[in-house]
Structure formats: structure tokens, C-alpha cells
Symmetry: C2
Subunit: 244 residues, 2 copies
């Protein structure tokens, strides 16, 4: 699918021009970074959902160090877009925890925190997703793949962006036939109990703050130090998380 076609079809679904641009920018960035399952083909999938393209997230509670948002039926991508814009327009002096209830789907989490890092802020974002990962010992799915993304700005240019899902494969891989559904387990093979523990911790952390519907939690802070240049030097030619 081309960007133009995606734009046309999103507009046909009723999304406003600014929302179309926000969605396409996210899908294009995902494709550029090799996350094909989060690219423009997602428009096909969005067309299968019952969406209210006019729904808007609302800021329920706003303090210097804490915000609570409700997606209120808006697409999760657009909830995060709104949160990132609002955060950049009024960033915390030091740090802020931002809770978003009813925030799904959230796409590539690294995309959102990279924008905070590009503006000089540290960001860590996690989100719950449909229950797909079972306990390493088996049983029913207990957690989402529950990604976490962490972005750190750098005075020398590109931020470092770690973006890790707890699944050995993605649900997109399963849908596309690149993996079987029984491969959708916590990553790590013999040490899958570690990824499972992280998935459980993040699942309950987000749920305790954002409630039973899928949500997201962002921590954004102003850094006091600039560790990335020395870190890149130490890593020399090795590829770091988030590098293209």
C-alpha cells in the first residue's frame, strides 16, 4: 500500500486530515525501521474494526508530576499522538507519570518516546495488549506481549531507543504466517520465565493504574546527564537498539 492510498482510505473512514497525517507518519516510520507488521498494511486491519473516527482522548487529571487520560474510544495511536504533543507543549520541569486508560492499539512504542528524546526528554512507555502469552509451563494466555520502549536523548544526535516486546514472535508474525501460534510465547527459550515475569509485571502495573481495558503508562523526565555519546564510543561499531 502506498502512503497516498493509505491517506485516501483513512480519509474515507472518516478521519480528519490531522489524524490521517499522524497515522500515516507512524505507519511510515514503522515500515522504515523494519517493523513491517506495524506499517501501512495496518490500514487494511483498521478497516475491519468498528471505529469512531471523531472520538477524542480527554485529559481527566493534570498535575505537574501526574496526568491521567482516557482514550474515550479514540484509536490508541491517536491517544498517544495527543499525549506526546501535549507533553512536548508543556513538558515536566523534572518528571511526570502519564496514565492512559482505553488506549489501543499503540503501534510501535519506540516511535512515541523517540519524539520525546528528539526534544531532549527521557521517555519510558509501556502498554498492555490482548492476552496472548501463556505461562512458560503452559495454560491459557495470561498477558499481552506488553512492549516497553525506553528512549534517551543524546547531545551528539540520534537518541538510543530500546523497544522490546515480551513475545518470542509477534502476533503480526502469526497473522502473516511467518510464525505459528504456539511460537507466541514469552521470549528467551529456557529462560522464558524472565520475559514472562516482565510481561506479568508490566500487565499488572498498567492495569493497576489504567484499569482493565488496554492502556498505557508513560514516564517522561528531563535528564541531568548525557550518557549516550560515551556509550556509543564504548560500543564502537556495534549496532545499538533503535539504530537503523
Amino acid at each position: 500500500m502506498t502512503s497516498d492510498e493509505a491517506r485516501r482510505r483513512l480519509a474515507d473512514m472518516g478521519f480528519a486530515a490531522t489524524d490521517v497525517s499522524a497515522l500515516v507518519a507512524h505507519f511510515e516510520d514503522a515500515a522504515r525501521r523494519g517493523k513491517a507488521g506495524h506499517g501501512l498494511s495496518r490500514v487494511d486491519w483498521l478497516e475491519t474494526l468498528e471505529l469512531d473516527p471523531a472520538a477524542r482522548p480527554v485529559l481527566l487529571e493534570s498535575e505537574e508530576g501526574f496526568e491521567r487520560w482516557d482514550g474515550r474510544g479514540a484509536l490508541g495511536y491517536l491517544v498517544l499522538e495527543e499525549i506526546i504533543r501535549a507533553t512536548l507543549a508543556d513538558p515536566p520541569e523534572r518528571a511526570r507519570v502519564v496514565v492512559a486508560r482505553r488506549c489501543f492499539p499503540t503501534g510501535v512504542l519506540g516511535y512515541w518516546v523517540r519524539r520525546l528524546a528528539d526534544a531532549g526528554f527521557v521517555g519510558a512507555l509501556t502498554a498492555t495488549s490482548p492476552l496472548r502469552l501463556p505461562h512458560p509451563d503452559g495454560g491459557p494466555p495470561l498477558t499481552g506481549t506488553n512492549p516497553i520502549a525506553i528512549a534517551i536523548p543524546s547531545s551528539d544526535g540520534a537518541p538510543v531507543v530500546a523497544d522490546v516486546s515480551m513475545g518470542a514472535v509477534t502476533h503480526g508474525d502469526v497473522l502473516a504466517g511467518r510464525a505459528s501460534s504456539d511460537e507466541l510465547v514469552p521470549f528467551g527459550g529456557e529462560q522464558a520465565h524472565k520475559a514472562f515475569a516482565l510481561a506479568v509485571g508490566l500487565e499488572l502495573f498498567v492495569s493497576a493504574l489504567a484499569g482493565p481495558e488496554r492502556g498505557a503508562v508513560l514516564v517522561v523526565a528531563k535528564p541531568d546527564h548525557d550518557p549516550v555519546p560515551a556509550f556509543r564510543k564504548l560500543a564502537a561499531a556495534l549496532r545499538l537498539p533503535g539504530d537503523c
Copy 2:
């Protein structure tokens, strides 16, 4: 080593009675939860360090949603003990990010956040540690094992506590001869790039906020929801993170 012997030797090192109690409580809890490398035998190791038993952490900056501490030469365990006590004495209305510079060693991170969860708060704590993990492609150690612990309270009793280090084995395993030093790599085998990305993200997240010396970052928040009872029901007899 018995608790009495540990108490005696810590007192001989010059630690005040309350500090001795705090240290022994942490070591005993670690041993009880099967983290032998963090148990009472750590007193042997402490005796090899140059410590100032009278050093005290100091709160440099204190706002509702943000705190910055400096360990100022105090043992990391005692810095976290002080932070947990101060947080429980004056918890955030909603959420707080707590940064601790010069905070090492930090022991079993789950121990600290479990105490927040026992008092009804969600806690997520991460800390940097000496550089030991190389890139999955090889090269020098780039990150610490950088554990993260997440604790969620429950209305039905025991909190869930996920506590995960990014190493395939612990440095303690290597010291004790239970693992070789080349096994001290990011966990996950073929998917070690995921644990490595998390280790990098946490390393730089903590460093950007706490500076180049080893530090810790805590996020503590008051939950709006109580997801653990339903989660335990769904998991039925399966063992969850932090269960004994």
C-alpha cells in the same frame, strides 16, 4: 552465616544498630526467597569493601512528583532503605519519580518495591550495576545486569512482584563457580538481543537521570484498580512472579 553472626560482624564494621537491622532484614529476605547470592554471605563481601558506615544519603530535591537523592557514600542498601521509609512516611498523592545517584549495591530490588506494594502502592525500581553484559555479537561489557522489579499490591493479600535481571546468569553465580564468566551475557539465547536492548535502555535511563556513578530510579504510584485477584484466578495453580 547465622543472623546473629552477621549482626555482630556488621556492628564490628561500625554500622549503627538500625542499619544493622535493615541490612540483616534484607539479606534474610533474599535467602528466604532463594536468592542465595544476596543472602547473609554478602557480609563477607562487605568486609572486603572500603565503607563509611556513618555515611548517610541526602534528599537533594523534593517535590510532590519528583525526588532526587544522593547516596553520598552510604551503602546502596541503606540508601534504598531510607528512600522506602521516606516514601512510606510521605507517599505521593498520585505518582512520584525518585532518582538516586551513587546508590550501590542495591541487592534484591524486589525486596524494596514489595514493601511499597504491601502498603498499597505500585512500585517499579531499576538500578545500574557494574558493566558485565556484552553485546550479543561480542565485544566488551557495555551494561550492567540492570535488574528491574515491579510490584503490584492486591486486595487479596500477597502482591505480585516481578524482579528480573538482564543477565543469563548472575555475577554471584560466576563468583560461586556455578557459572563461567562467558555465560554472563544477556539472557534469551537466540533472542538475547531483546534482553540486551532492555539492559541498554535501563542503563541509559538511569544514567541520564542519576549520572555516571551507579544509581537507581524508582517510580511509585497509587493504584486506581486492583487487577491482581482476577489475574491470580486466571493463572489458577501456576506460579506467579514473586511467589515463594
